[in-house]
């Protein structure tokens, strides 16, 4: 079983946290912090297994992690998982992200944390590995995205336009411009 999946950057900022066992928010933050401290002090050329997170797991649990550029991907697993298998799973996860975001980087994870969660849920469900075949995973994600687009349909067009405008980094003030109260304006027109 996988107990938790954490992604954080080189400074310990969480980019994704998925706990398959309940911890309250404070505890989750402590676990992330502790895990970061354990993992970050390790050189890049040492092994990717680590025992001894005191907050999560216990003696049966291990941290298995990979370090990519600015991000750490950490899986906390028990002895029923194969160590090398989980390392491969991390690789699959990252490669899937790479496919979905087209050359993924930390910023993608920052701004699309929800999308990352949706992708992860196609790999792991409730702490158990669901699917390891990347083409299957990608197909499922693609279908669900399509579904989402269909639902959005025409009505989402303006929203998309606005978000495009927002992405142009217009000053924040635009948000403060209040639209006139439409029905009232129409009433005024009648005169």
């Amino acid at each position: 079983m996988i107990k938790a999946i954490l992604v954080f950057n080189n400074h310990g900022k969480p980019r994704l946290s998925k706990f398959y066992q309940y911890f309250n928010e404070d505890m989750q933050q402590q676990i992330i912090k502790e895990t970061f401290q354990l993992v970050s002090k390790r050189d890049d050329n040492v092994c990717n297994f680590l025992e001894g997170g005191s907050l999560i797991g216990g003696s049966d649990y291990k941290l298995i992690y990979r370090h990519y550029a600015t991000l750490y991907f950490v899986f906390c697993v028990d002895s029923s998982e194969s160590e090398l298998g989980i390392l491969d799973l991390i690789q699959v996860f990252v490669e899937t992200l790479d496919k979905c975001f087209e050359n993924v980087c930390e910023l993608d994870l920052i701004f699309h944390a929800d999308a990352v969660h949706h992708i992860l849920s196609e790999l792991v469900m409730g702490g158990m590995v669901l699917q390891t075949n990347m083409s299957d995973i990608l197909a499922r994600i693609e279908e669900q995205n399509k579904l989402q687009k269909q639902e959005a349909g025409i009505s989402a067009a303006p929203a998309r336009a606005v978000s495009a405008v927002k992405s142009m980094n217009l000053p924040q003030q635009i948000k403060d411009i209040k639209l006139p109260d439409l029905p009232q304006a129409i009433k005024d027109l009648k005169f």
């Binding site: 002090k41 194969s82 790479d98 075949n133 989402q148 606005v162 978000s163």
Partner: protein, 1074 residues
């Protein structure tokens, strides 16, 4: 109308979406908290609107904030609203939020049952998929029970995507609701042969998880798995199957024989490292399980060890780590095959990677021999000096003790060396958490190895004097060694070289814990008894007077101790001394007055409290007392010595537990009337320190055992459970006879060392107290250089000596090493620099045979005391499994005909959960509710899980009796029963706790009355070893992160082909692992 919608849409456009939120947080780094508080206000506004799109946007933002550590449970109801939306987009957001913040105890979950049921049966497979993914994170017992059937239906859906998810989901259902396992199992089994490989894999996954804890119930599936193993190409699934076989062979060795061949074939054929590694692991498990009578048994072991060696030698640290991990499994059963790779493992001790070093440390346990123990320990000590991270150092310390003490010190040849190592450890790691362990070792060695007792006693005397008490940082328990040191010094007082000085040291007030102070007081008395005894023999009245004064003065600070135990002991001793002084002839009126006048007064009187009394020029000797008085003195001194005269023998671990309870002794009965709840305040009023008294209960399990009494052991015995004790009562005659028989046996037993008077008991105390402090005698070693008392690495000299000895024997290879050392002055410390240089050479020497193992210099006393007729065994400790483990309830015999138990019609009705509940005959222990259910249902329960203790059983029966008619009358009222059951359970537990407390109290009191069984280091050791093992996994607290600043992380590809992965097999067809 249309306009309103347009307006809604327009407003939505300008709501902050998730991206805006994230950007805002990044732009407001300085006042992030304030910005987020503002955003949460906005979110609250949005949640109040009717538009589900607005709501889902708000919930999406909340999910992000949850990751940042904000509690969003207040929005639980809104999350459910979003989950129930018809739009997939919103549903997905809602379920994601729910999976992140809901938990099985959420009250809100009861609102979700029908909605989730609806989603599960949705025509859109992704609606159901999203629901399953979310549900897997927060499913509760109620949801499991209510939705089990719906999920089971999905297991036979036409869509493989849903089948796969439903199969995995069932495992979560089983965990919460074990009753579902039996009806679902046939279907689960069917899924093992599903046409879709992903569904197959999911089913294998679930069964692996189930079988890991209860393998015997899944043996019948072995043929299916065997077929899968030989046909499948999905590496992920193969790994799982192979892991499963490892747990199956443990209980069915016959399976192993069949497995070996295909596994070995896989080992030699596969190129996927992950698969190879798991195969090796399972072959190891097979080889462990089957008897060694198998023909090519050793060949398989050899193959495994060879493959592992390749892994360990690999430059990839991951493989190295795993290789060591697997080696440690082989070590347990085939130590010889691992020992041939000693060089490799010892080399790993120097690896830069802590994980690997820790693994290598595990293996060290099996690597030591009499010959190389000293060298290995010296290396570990060297590591300890250099290593950073207190937890790693602690681990090293633990390992040193573990490898030295294994098998009753079977590899330790020189106990003076071992004691020196222990003292070095103490000084090296003042912040260690293993203080108790070391204290236990000190006691054990001092008691069981009589030959080094004198050495031990004087080492301890020095330790007491020099140990920097204040240096112990918080969290460390190293102070505990003072407990052991004080006890050893007092108990074996006749061996102390400078007893007067040691007595003074014991009486110096030190900021140590109460239970240690108590031992100080007690052992000061022992030392005093010894000193006075000697002085009386010599008729040395001034000496008696001097000792009396030392003790008398020294006790003052203890008399006012905040710890009641210390105070009590100090008072007793104080008056004992006063008595003696009185007989010495009226010289002590002043202090007597003080003593009679009350204890409080003494606190103000601070002069002469320390050892100065002993060192001060002696006052004019008192006139020789008249003969009658002298007799009195002799009498008192004799009595004092008598108190501590008898020899203490080591007691077997858990021996106390094996003592049979005499008839008519009821441990649960109060000795006195139970105190009223407020009595703590009352008694503290006269004790004078209310707070401290409460903080230090008299018979704290932890301290009691060390408190000189036998409280701990007794408590262990009493707390051992509610087993019924029976004891044969012996008459005095019988007891005498048995004692004589035992003595006879001891004299005939070559392993038993008779207590030998090592020192002429009169001699040493006569020396002037000031001389002889600095030459703690170190036997058998002629040193040109005078030893400083606590130089680092005193232990090295023993190694040198051992080398010299072996060099003298003329063994060719080892002479070389010895020669290297011979060049250095044969002084105590040859310097560390040299040590490193000769390392490699030394290990080359160690491959020779055991035949020239060094002869042990000291013998360990292996005789341990046990109650008559008891056998040394650990059978009681079988059931230490976690009682909360849901898998215990899943231990269900799945091969038993199921249809008999559950007629088909009833299986169908599982939805109305009452039927299932009432018919089930498993006592689940998932949680209190389930347990209560089981109570209600256990009418047919004949087997209770092993761990259930008797009290529980009894209670169960009682409840069962009460409830049974109710159950039969109204089988459809589980909810009501749940409530009742819960209440009763709670009451029952409270009652049990009361009883336990009573028992503790009583046994503690009994313990105090008997002085017997006081020295029980082996048990302390055993207990602590257990404890340590539990704490095995640990974290490094020292954090020295090097932040790698990557400022240029914009659009920098994250995926780099850093590591090739372990899957060379990427065969087509998508079956291959990843």
């Amino acid at each position: 109308m249309a306009l309103k919608m347009v307006k809604g849409n327009l407003e939505r456009m300008f709501d902050k979406n998730l991206t805006d939120l994230v950007r805002g947080i990044r732009n407001n780094k300085d006042n992030e908290a304030k910005y987020i508080a503002q955003c949460i206000e906005e979110i609250k506004q949005e949640l109040r609107q009717d538009n589900v799109g607005v709501k889902s946007n708000a919930v999406a933002k909340l999910t992000y904030l949850q990751m940042c550590g904000y509690d969003i449970s207040w929005a639980g109801f809104n999350i459910i609203e979003v989950m129930s939306s018809n739009r997939f987009t919103c549903k997905r957001i809602g379920y994601l939020a729910a999976s992140q913040c809901f938990h099985p105890d959420s009250d809100l979950l009861m609102l979700t049952t029908n909605m989730i049921r609806k989603d599960l049966s949705s025509t859109n497979q992704y609606d159901a998929g999203v629901a399953l993914s979310g549900l897997s994170c927060f499913i509760s017992t109620d949801l499991s029970r209510d939705l089990a059937n719906d999920i089971m239906t999905l297991m036979s859906s036409t869509k493989p995507y849903l089948r796969m998810k439903a199969v995995l989901m069932m495992y979560k259902v089983f965990l919460r609701y074990p009753e579902a396992l039996r009806p679902a199992f046939p279907k689960l089994k069917e899924k093992l042969e599903d046409p879709d490989p992903s569904v197959q894999s999911a089913a294998v996954n679930v069964i692996c998880e189930l079988a890991r804890k209860n393998p015997k119930n899944y043996l019948s599936l072995a043929p299916i798995f065997f077929k899968l193993m030989t046909t499948s190409t999905n590496n992920w699934m193969l790994i799982k199957i192979i892991k499963l076989f490892a747990s199956l062979t443990a209980i069915e060795p016959a399976l192993g024989k069949k497995l070996t061949h295909p596994l070995i074939e896989l080992i030699s054929s596969t190129s996927a490292m992950s698969l190879l590694y798991e195969c090796i692991n399972t072959v190891i498990a097979v080889l462990i399980s089957i008897s060694s009578g198998m023909p090519n048994h050793s060949a398989s072991i050899q193959l495994c060890v060879q493959k592992l060696r390749i892994l360990i030698e690999d430059s990839d640290q991951n493989l190295k780590y795993l290789g060591l991990l697997a080696m440690s499994k082989i070590l347990k059963t085939h130590p010889k095959s691992v020992q041939t790779h000693k060089d490799l493992i010892l080399a790993c001790l120097d690896d830069k990677d802590e994980s690997i070093r820790l693994r290598a440390l595990d293996l060290l346990y099996g690597m030591v021999s009499k010959k190389n123990l000293m060298e290995i320990v010296r290396r570990l000590l060297g590591h300890m000096e250099r290593a950073e991270g207190s937890s790693y150092r602690d681990e090293l310390l633990y390992k040193v003790i573990e490898i030295c003490s294994q098998g009753s010190y079977q590899y330790v040849t020189n106990f003076e060396w071992y004691l020196t190592v222990l003292v070095e450890l103490i000084l090296l790691e003042s912040g260690s958490r293993h203080g108790r362990l070391i204290a236990g070792q000190l006691l054990d060695v001092a008691i069981r190895v009589q030959a080094v007792r004198a050495f031990a006693v004087n080492e301890m005397a020095t330790l007491l004097e020099t140990y920097p008490v204040t240096a112990a940082p918080n969290g460390g328990t190293m102070q505990e060694v003072l407990y052991a040191a004080a006890w050893i010094v007092g108990e074996f007082a006749s061996h102390v070289d400078a007893p007067e000085r040691t007595l003074a040291v014991l009486l110096q007030p030190k900021p140590v814990a109460g239970h240690i102070q108590a031992v100080y007081v007690q052992n000061a008395l022992k030392l005093f008894a010894h000193l006075v005894g000697e002085a009386v023999r010599q008729r040395d009245v001034p000496a008696i007077d001097r000792h009396c004064r030392t003790l008398h003065d020294g006790l003052r600070s203890y008399l006012s101790s905040a710890d009641i135990e210390v105070q009590e002991r100090a008072s007793s001793v104080y008056f004992l001394v006063a008595l003696l002084r009185e007989s010495l002839g009226g010289r002590s009126e002043t202090t007597d007055d003080a003593a009679v006048g009350g204890l409080v007064e003494l606190t103000a009187d601070g002069d002469g409290t320390t050892g100065e009394g002993a060192l001060a020029p002696a006052p004019p000797p008192p006139p020789s007392p008249p003969d009658t008085a002298w007799q009195e003195i002799e009498q008192i001194a004799g009595d004092l010595r008598e108190l501590f005269a008898s020899e203490l023998n080591p007691v077997a671990p858990k021996a106390q537990r094996k003592v049979q309870l005499p008839d008519g002794l009821d441990l649960d009965e109060w000795i006195n009337q139970p105190p009223p709840p407020t009595s703590g305040d009352a008694s503290s009023a006269d004790g004078g320190s209310s707070d401290d008294e409460k903080r230090f209960p008299l018979f704290l399990a932890e301290t009691g055992g060390r408190g000189g009494g036998a409280g701990d052991r007794e408590t262990n015995g009493g707390g051992g459970g509610s087993r019924s004790y029976k004891r044969v009562e012996y008459t005095q005659e019988e007891l005498d006879k048995m004692r004589q028989a035992r003595l006879l046996e001891q004299t005939n037993n070559p392993n038993y060392l008779k207590p030998a008077k090592t020192k002429a008991s009169g001699g040493d105390y006569q020396q002037q107290p000031n001389d002889g402090y600095d030459d703690i005698p170190i036997a058998e070693i002629a040193l040109e250089v005078p030893l400083q008392i606590h130089s680092t690495k005193r232990s090295d000299k023993y190694l040198l000596e051992a080398d010299r000895r072996s060099g003298g024997k003329g063994v060719g290879s080892s002479r070389k090493a010895a020669k290297g050392e011979g060049a250095a002055p044969s002084g105590s410390r040859t310097g560390k620099s040299k040590r490193h240089g000769k390392k490699s050479k030394r290990y080359a020497d160690e491959s020779d045979t055991e035949s020239d193992d060094p002869k042990p210099l000291h013998v360990v006393n292996t005789v341990i005391e046990l109650p008559e007729g008891a056998i040394l065994s650990d059978t009681e400790d079988k059931n230490n499994a976690d009682p909360n483990d849901p898998h215990r309830a899943l231990d269900i015999d799945l091969d038993a005909p199921f249809e008999d138990d559950y007629p088909a019609s009833e299986v169908k009705r599982t939805k109305q959960h009452s039927v299932m509940l009432l018919r089930d005959d498993k006592p689940p222990t998932v949680d209190r509710k389930a347990a209560a259910m089981a109570v209600a249902n256990s009418s047919r329960s004949s087997t209770t899980p092993d761990g259930e203790n008797k009290a529980k059983k009894k209670k169960k029966k009682k409840e069962e009796g009460k409830r049974k008619p109710e159950v039969q009358e109204d089988p459809a009222a589980p909810a009501m029963m749940l409530m009742i059951g819960e209440e009763e359970e709670e009451q029952g537990r409270a009652g049990q706790e009361d009883e336990a407390a009573k028992r503790r109290k009583k046994s503690g009191r009994r313990a105090k009355e008997e002085r017997k069984g006081k020295a029980d280091p082996s048990e302390i050791e055993a207990d602590e070893a257990d404890e340590k093992k539990k704490r095995h996994g640990k974290k490094s607290s020292k954090h020295h992160a090097h932040h790698h600043h990557h400022h240029n992380h914009h659009r920098q590809g994250v995926v780099e082909p850093q590591k090739a992965g372990y899957e060379e097999v990427q065969q087509g067809g998508g079956g291959a692992l990843i």
